[in-house]
Symmetry: C2
Subunit: 448 residues, 2 copies
């Protein structure tokens, strides 16, 4: 049997795990500095928690888990007879794999509302699964890294989440531009042009501006019953980058003006001169997700054309579907897979990131192998990462292994070393050798 | 809709996540000090990778993932007609959830053999899923923490894995007894009593000695065609705790003597006086798993009656089922869920383990809230974990929140603080207040 793994999934070798852990650790440290606490939810959710939350297309992309035991006994007879696969699912699969972290979080907040103090600031770094067609950079199993605050509508959280984005990308060494907009301003644009009823069609078309250009966006709008004059007006308004100017243009919409006011409050909190990256108001930023109701953000890498590597926004009613009403929230998500790719492309990972072993001990015979074992034990006890080649085979073969695993230092144990207790530490990069005692070794490698 | 989660799964609140992370970090650090490197494998494996590896009972406990799209189109017509659920599975589910980390690791080694340097020392800390009946302490989703070396038969690894067990449990503060035996010695006992053909029946019965006692074990053996005299002889031999004595008793079995020799070599490496916990030879230790072929270990907590909290052993042929022959390996597994329970019961988790926030800032009005936001920004930039209550509401309510989230320090911003720049830091445990500047604050909280 030739082994394989499911399409769209991946094994991770040690160096890849180390690089991933590095990104996670930078993000986690920032989350904690900003007062966010971690939660974890199960990989499996009840299917009824998931279905209907991601649109029809999303429902198709859910991975469903077949009920255990005699699942056919409770199968929908009619659906079976009709060969109706999608109609059969709910009777033979009660559970599905998590599709994102947002819906499980809303479910979590509702279930645990009495154990939480609000505002509740949580972060969550876990995998999600989508049965999308795999392609370059798109997998069926991938990590999401989310931070959300629920239970407060203070704009101070919008400001701190932008600071958090700024700090994480600066720490990772990725230059980004951060864009902010407000869904209420977008609604104000629609309302001021008399196309409030076509608000969704307008935002969906607008979202494609970067990809298809102004003319095609206008074309799509008119196809969706937006008068051509209004479509042109909308596009003109989108080009204004100044809050005062925008306020004038959408003055007739009280919702739109409220959105402008939110952006002003946001700017009172944040001091853009203290950010490492540029932050700009972009009225053409729409973000597809329907549940956003206030400020929205998006982050793009400056030196790699890879699309958005982070985003988020304010939502007013995420938990009501589970029965908890009136909980406003705001959250962001780091585009982990793309961040990884950007770091690889720009060579931003620290050198030797996967190196955890400091010293490999090599030996000539059974006696020196035993001596090496005791030396290794002593080093490990002191917290030095050390290893011993398993057998005293030909020195050349042992050295080859040392090179393969890229260990930075080796020590060869011979009769001289056993007699004197003085060891010869070889730097595998420079080839340089130095005489050291065990205590000197421990001092050197625990002071790094 | 009242939300819930699947039976046998759990949500984890921040304190639980912090406690789990603490155990993982101790184990990971030890793995790395001992030269093990991390890998990760997908949550989903091809079902054919998993089926047949865990016995018939195991196959039933696998979670299977329903194929996406029109899965009925390729369903086995006969099985459908017969209402044969188990016969239908292979035609409608190509994938399943990981049941343990050992089989995916064997699959990984086979697939990536050309990218690995042998001996390959890997650790893996990931979740697994089993559709077992949930009960106290047994879940359907749980973590496994494994370390394995493949590609060497050196007994030095058995010795270092026992040292690793010893060090991890000592670091966690759990007193344990570590038992060692060798499957070849067990075979030698069977062979010397002329019951080599009943070897499996003998070990299965023996494994229950602690639970059911000597008489019942003998009863089970005789039921399984082991002559009563031989069964009594086996039980007598099991009581000898000394390698010399054991060697005499099984001298007629060359395999048994080879097992004794392995245990002697193991003891030449390890210096038991340097271990923090006791290590003993226990010939009645059998460990159920069939794939073990050499030394086997088991770890039990001394102060809590909870069964095994760790175990492992040598296997000679794990990867051959995937086509890679002649790769000897040895590995251990930490019983993570039980370790967690022991730590809880003995109160071994460090105090304040879930505390990541140092300071909560409170404010009286919009001006002081804005001042607080800038102070918070400054503290976070310096690496101090700080937060700000979202709105300048009644001070009593803000203080209640500070108590609820158990933050150790608060700072209230008033007009005096804004004028002087001197802040009043309140220790929430003692109630003590101290005047500090921002720089003093940063120094205090980055030196902890």
């Amino acid at each position: 049997m030739k082994p394989g793994i499911p399409k769209g999934t991946r094994d991770f070798l040690p160096e890849q795990v180390a690089k991933r852990e590095y990104i996670f650790s930078v993000i986690k440290r920032a989350f904690q500095t900003y007062g966010y606490v971690p939660i974890e939810t199960p990989v499996m959710e009840n299917l009824k928690t998931l279905t209907g939350k991601y649109g029809d297309e999303g429902d198709k992309l859910l991975f469903k888990i077949l009920n255990n035991g005699d699942f056919l006994a409770k199968a929908d007879k009619q659906a079976l007879e009709d060969g109706n696969s999608s109609g059969l699912i709910s009777s033979i699969a009660d559970r599905g794999l998590r599709y994102d972290l947002t819906v499980p979080f809303a479910r979590f907040v509702t279930m645990h509302q009495n154990d939480l103090s609000f505002p509740f600031k949580r972060y969550q770094i876990q995998q999600v699964w989508r049965a999308d067609r795999p392609q370059k950079g798109r997998y069926r199993e991938f990590y999401q890294c989310d931070a959300d605050v629920v239970g407060s509508d203070s704009l101070h959280y919008e400001a701190e989440l932008v600071q958090l984005f700024d700090q994480v990308y600066a720490t990772l060494g990725i230059k980004v531009s951060i864009k902010i907009n407000n869904r209420k301003v977008l609604y104000g644009i629609a309302e001021s042009q008399g196309i409030a009823d076509q608000f969704m069609a307008m935002t969906i078309a607008m979202d494609k501006l970067d990809k298809i250009g102004r003319e095609k966006v206008i074309e799509e709008m008119t196809k969706n019953h937006i008068p051509e004059a209004a479509a042109h007006q909308v596009m003109d308004i989108l080009s204004c980058k100044d809050l005062d100017e925008m306020q004038e243009k959408i003055a007739s919409s009280s919702i739109g003006v409220a959105g402008i006011e939110e952006l002003r409050t946001f700017h009172r909190f944040i001091d853009t001169s203290e950010l490492s990256n540029e932050l700009s108001f972009d009225p053409s930023l729409a973000r597809g997700l329907n549940y956003y109701t206030g400020c929205i953000f998006e982050v793009a890498a400056k030196d790699v054309a890879i699309g958005s590597i982070g985003g988020g926004g304010r939502y007013d009613d995420l938990t009501s579907v589970f029965g908890l009403k009136g909980v406003s929230g705001v959250g962001i998500s780091f585009g982990f897979a793309r961040i990884y790719d950007v770091m690889e492309e720009l060579k931003l990972f620290p050198e030797d990131i996967s190196r955890t072993l400091d010293i490999l001990i090599l030996s000539f015979d059974i006696d020196s192998h035993g001596y090496g074992f005791r030396l290794m034990t002593q080093l490990r006890k002191a917290g030095v990462s050390a290893d011993l080649y398993p057998k005293p085979i030909k020195m050349q073969k042992q050295m080859k292994y040392a090179n393969n695993i890229k260990v930075p230092y080796t020590i060869v144990i011979g009769s001289e070393e056993m007699t004197s207790g003085v060891l010869s530490l070889k730097d595998m990069n420079s080839g340089e050798q130095n005489k050291v005692t065990v205590n000197q070794l421990i001092e050197k490698f625990t002071n790094i």
